[in-house]
């Protein structure tokens, strides 16, 4: 899925200088200790540490402060959307998705409009 999302971002015309990929929330938190990023795209269902726990822990990581998070997940219920947004997510894309949907959700977040 990470490669699919990367491809969708490229198809949407979003310039990707560098993409860091993590297999779960714990890996992502470790990566953020040493890297600054502009945007975090994150699933909910992941092994080790799921996406909701991951975004709850983001405020404790200096490099992640103010970085917008967009969830991309099969968990499509209203309750999941509310939970993700209340945890700090700025956008929510339900799988399956089209590159156009990625563009619609990601570009406003990157522009600070969401």
């Amino acid at each position: 899925m990470r490669k699919i999302v990367e491809r969708s971002l490229a198809q949407a015309g979003i310039d990707l200088a560098q993409v860091l990929q993590a297999g779960n929330g714990a890996e992502a938190l470790a990566m953020l200790q040493d890297n600054q990023v502009d945007l975090i795209l994150c699933d909910i269902n992941m092994p080790v540490m799921d996406g909701l726990e991951f975004i709850k822990q983001l405020p404790g990581v200096d490099n992640a402060k103010g970085v917008p998070v967009v969830m991309i997940t099969t968990e499509g219920s209203e309750a999941h959307v509310v939970q993700a947004l209340s945890c700090g997510a700025r956008g929510y894309i339900r799988k399956p998705f089209t590159p156009e949907q990625v563009k619609e959700h990601v570009i406003p977040v990157l522009a600070g409009k969401s």
């Binding site: 899925m1 490669k3 491809r7 269902n45 099969t74 968990e75 219920s77 209203e78 309750a79």
Partner: protein, 159 residues
């Protein structure tokens, strides 16, 4: 919208098919077709299986089975890479397809979107295995064709 508690699980077969069709159309830009009975191949030819567990109001396992060459073509289409360049991504791609079919399916049934959680997918290669499930009702199965290659989507339900 169907309900998880109506007990008539055979009514879910069209939803399983619709879920799969939507995933393939959106993520792979291709349509699935229904095989004629004469086109059905032996299931032991399907040597890649992706499984996603469901827990909560609905417990069970949804699986997607296909031939290795079909799985490779799925990965190629999903990732936009030439078929001959596809390698270890095959398992990831089929696992993600199973995850999306399962998620799309449960989101079509009242109460399951929030009342049923999915496990990360597991992918098995090879066809010489026996799967022992705690399922206590007959499984549901949908047979479709992806680029003229068979795929089978199954749901084993635990009460």
């Amino acid at each position: 919208m169907k309900s998880a508690s109506d007990g008539h699980h055979e009514n879910w077969i069209p939803l399983m098919e619709m879920s799969a069709r939507e995933v393939f159309e959106l993520m792979l830009s291709c349509s699935l077709s229904v095989p004629a009975s004469s086109e059905e191949k032996a299931l032991d030819a399907l040597d890649v299986t992706a499984m996603v567990g469901l827990a909560g109001q609905l417990c069970g396992v949804l699986s997607v089975r296909c031939e290795g060459k079909a799985a490779a073509l799925m990965a190629s289409k999903m990732l936009g890479v030439p078929l001959d360049k596809v390698g270890s991504e095959v398992a990831d791609a089929l696992g993600e397809i199973a995850n999306m079919v399962a998620g799309n399916f449960k989101n079509k049934i009242a109460g399951l979107a929030e009342g049923c959680l999915l496990s990360p997918p597991t992918v098995v290669t090879g066809s010489d295995y026996d799967l022992y499930s705690m399922a206590d009702s007959p499984g549901l199965e949908v047979k479709l064709l992806f680029e003229n290659m068979p795929i089978v989507i199954s749901l084993q339900i635990h009460s």
